[in-house]
Symmetry: C2
Subunit: 458 residues, 2 copies
């Protein structure tokens, strides 16, 4: 039997009752979108499994079997597991590792895993040099997961060529044994798939109807997770539990739809900036994953009728409590142009970390006496949320009982659905990214690729 979703969405501080008229939404503004949500869910039902596939991913138990089996094998011999990928082929992997592995290079308790997961999502020559030097002595014990849906991404393919050559030239190494290719299953579409078939590489598919930024719950995100000791079934179960809430056509039963509608109304009301601020050091990277999902899905020139609309909210990543001492001054006192989403982790269930040595301290620090870091961390979240409310700044909170594979799965699915509904509301195609094409053509032109024009250099 499927378990229940445990995430809670608290929208109170988005409304005028909490933050005042002119700043908060009137309930009627959101109510009036509920009929549109009915339309959208009907359309999504039609497209599901056709041109949109992300919501099917958590139910692919055959993939989970294969991933777990391959993950076990790799964890058995790999000192390093290196993802060669960028954008949607990197951010999900980074998010999972940051969320579920202890900081400072430790491994999940009880997993027995000792594999270090590295995501190489840049081609800065200094980084590539450092990487080759770092991995050098351990190269025979290092596996590489090359991830590119198109099978032709310039950054990833140049890394692929470089590492393949390195493995070929190093005694005791073999690219066919040490590289796993994750790409489009159709050889006509992916050069990497063709290369892989020719030379007999281990390969995983990215379904045709799953784009890069929606692929974290496919082999793209799951393999490095499994190698790192993450329970991928928990991740998928969490996602499935959330999935069943987010396909509801009743807006108030559907947290993704409600969230999308409320933030869209705030955008229409003059708040184009949306801040993602998890109060959890481990969820810091989730905010970067979210930024890609939001920016690339909704930042569009053309509306669905191909007219110029140049639309889309601007996402920003923050992290609590750290950024209270950085950008929070602006969020609280600057222009009224932002909506903040907190991710709150209920730490009541876990053993607290007491602030040792706080007994009998100076009067000025007496308030810390007998308290835990949990108390202080939670007090700062509540204080910040209330201060924002009292300064008429809209904010909402996603509440989780813990940071775990299960709740992370819920978050991934929640945001993917929310951006899908947002695409309809903004009137854009949430699943393409035509805007970066010109830059790609210019790059090819500068690199001398046949048939591609370089830009005019002024």
């Amino acid at each position: 039997m499927q378990r229940k979703s445990v995430m809670d969405l608290d929208c109170a501080n988005l409304f005028e009752d909490a933050i005042g008229p002119g700043h908060g939404l009137r309930p009627a503004e959101v109510d009036m979108l509920s009929e549109r949500i009915e339309e959208y869910t009907a359309d999504i039902r039609k497209r599901r499994g056709e041109d949109i596939g992300f919501m099917e991913l958590p139910y692919d138990t055959r993939l989970a079997d294969e991933i777990e089996s391959k993950g076990r094998e790799l964890a058995g011999w790999c000192k390093n597991f290196v993802v060669l990928g960028i954008g949607g082929s990197a951010l999900g992997n980074i998010t999972i590792q940051n969320a579920l592995s202890p900081s400072f290079g430790g491994r999940p308790a009880g997993s027995g895993g000792k594999t270090r997961i590295i995501v190489l999502d840049n081609i800065d020559p200094a980084l590539m040099r450092d990487f080759v030097e770092f991995v050098g002595p351990d190269l025979p014990e290092t596996a590489f997961n090359v991830i590119t849906k198109s099978g032709s991404t310039a950054e990833t393919m140049s890394q692929f060529l470089h590492v393949r050559d390195l493995l070929r030239r190093t005694d005791g190494c073999s690219p066919e044994q040490q590289m796993i290719l994750t790409t489009d299953p159709d050889p006509a579409k992916s050069l990497l798939r063709r290369l892989g078939e020719k030379d007999g590489y281990c390969m995983f598919p990215i379904p045709a109807n799953v784009g890069g930024r929606f692929s974290v719950l496919s082999a793209v995100g799951l393999l490095s997770a499994a190698v790192g000791g993450v329970d991928v079934r928990e991740l998928m179960e969490g996602a499935a539990a959330m999935e069943s809430r987010c396909c509801s056509d009743v807006m108030y039963d559907n947290p993704a739809a409600l969230y999308a509608c409320a933030l869209f109304k705030h955008y229409e009301n003059g708040k184009p900036i949306t801040v993602m601020m998890p109060y959890s050091h481990r969820l810091g990277a989730l905010a970067l994953w979210y930024c890609q999902l939001w920016a690339e899905s909704l930042g569009k020139r053309n509306g669905l009728e191909k007219k110029d609309i140049f639309t889309g909210p601007t996402p920003i990543a923050s992290v609590g409590v750290t950024d209270q001492h950085s950008v929070m001054q602006l969020y609280q006192d600057g222009p009224f142009d932002k909506v903040i989403t907190f991710v709150e982790v209920d730490r009541c269930g876990e053993e607290g970390v007491p602030i040792c040595g706080s007994a009998g301290v100076e009067p000025q620090l007496q308030y810390l006496s007998g308290k835990s870091f949990n108390d202080l961390f939670q007090a700062e979240l509540v204080a910040t949320r209330c201060a924002l409310r009292d300064k008429h700044r809209p904010n909402c909170t996603l509440r989780l009982p813990e940071v775990s594979a299960r709740t992370l799965g819920e978050l991934f699915m929640f945001f993917q659905y929310a951006v899908t509904y947002s695409g309809y509301l903004y009137g854009v195609d949430a699943f393409d990214q035509p805007g970066v094409e010109l830059g790609k053509q210019y790059t090819y032109g500068l690199m001398g690729r046949e048939g591609c024009n370089p830009p005019r250099l002024s």
Copy 2:
């Protein structure tokens, strides 16, 4: 003799000649601010060394001597050097380490340093637990630099109490020997200073006229740099070289003033979002340091006449080429509300990193043949800049010959001056941060500190 500044500011793509009328600035718009720059520089001259001190820091050779000496001593016995600090007491340290230490935990070549630098800028209980577990066995070989100007920051002081207790309770450890306190020199102002004097800790000052976000070139940023093997004199010389350019009252000779004026005009023209996008993996953290500097200095409720103005641009951190596969879609095709600042590193001087194995590859990848990662990285920067230009998106470029202590010093000083001029232009006090006070009071209230009211919980 003082060496010359080597940073170059390229503003061409901010103007209508490059990006089109209605999108770019008319030169006259900027020209008309040149008289105001004369006023501002005159005022800064008066305030220099009085209530504003950051520009004096690079000339403090006595401090450099002390830092170098202490840094050598610490590098001699420390396995870990841990900064306990948050916001302005953390971001400069992180920026310096990321920029000047090899990735993947390596150390600067030739420095001989083996000390690992850790900046603990959050109090998430999960992070604190991981940290104590990680550092445990090496505790006797770990030094802690507690950094808080006020000497009462809740996060840092709770960490201080916790670690001091840990050291007291561990055989072979001693807080007085292993903790260095960096705080206000006035014991009447800083509790941490008083505690340090009582127990005889090693201490460094943060000058009264240097606020947290302007303190990277004081002991705040320099000590961890020195321990990590960074040449702090180079850092200071770079900053001094830039300082001598940025105090000029001739706007077109003064890159910080010109940059501030051009971006301010774009803000007035409806572009409230300013993106910092270094094309350098190592300068990724610089963008976070910049975000604090910009947001906390300019995001203000009150203008200089104490009237409500709720102003300030919203800074965003990006990194090239990585974010071309993330937020770039929005930057190129979304609303016309952003100005992008690139940081470009001229890699001509350095030995390239060839894309090995690119000879004789498939026709589709032929354009990579015989090329280096340097070629591809540079082509992507140029292509992205030109694509933005051709899509009428304002952008400018800070060009450096290399990433080094010297050029990093230039960047720090450039941005600190630029935000100072921006403060005048926006009509705000760039050196306070009153907006976060309410949240602090609410935190104290929730923690039961005497005389502090908790927020209303709804």
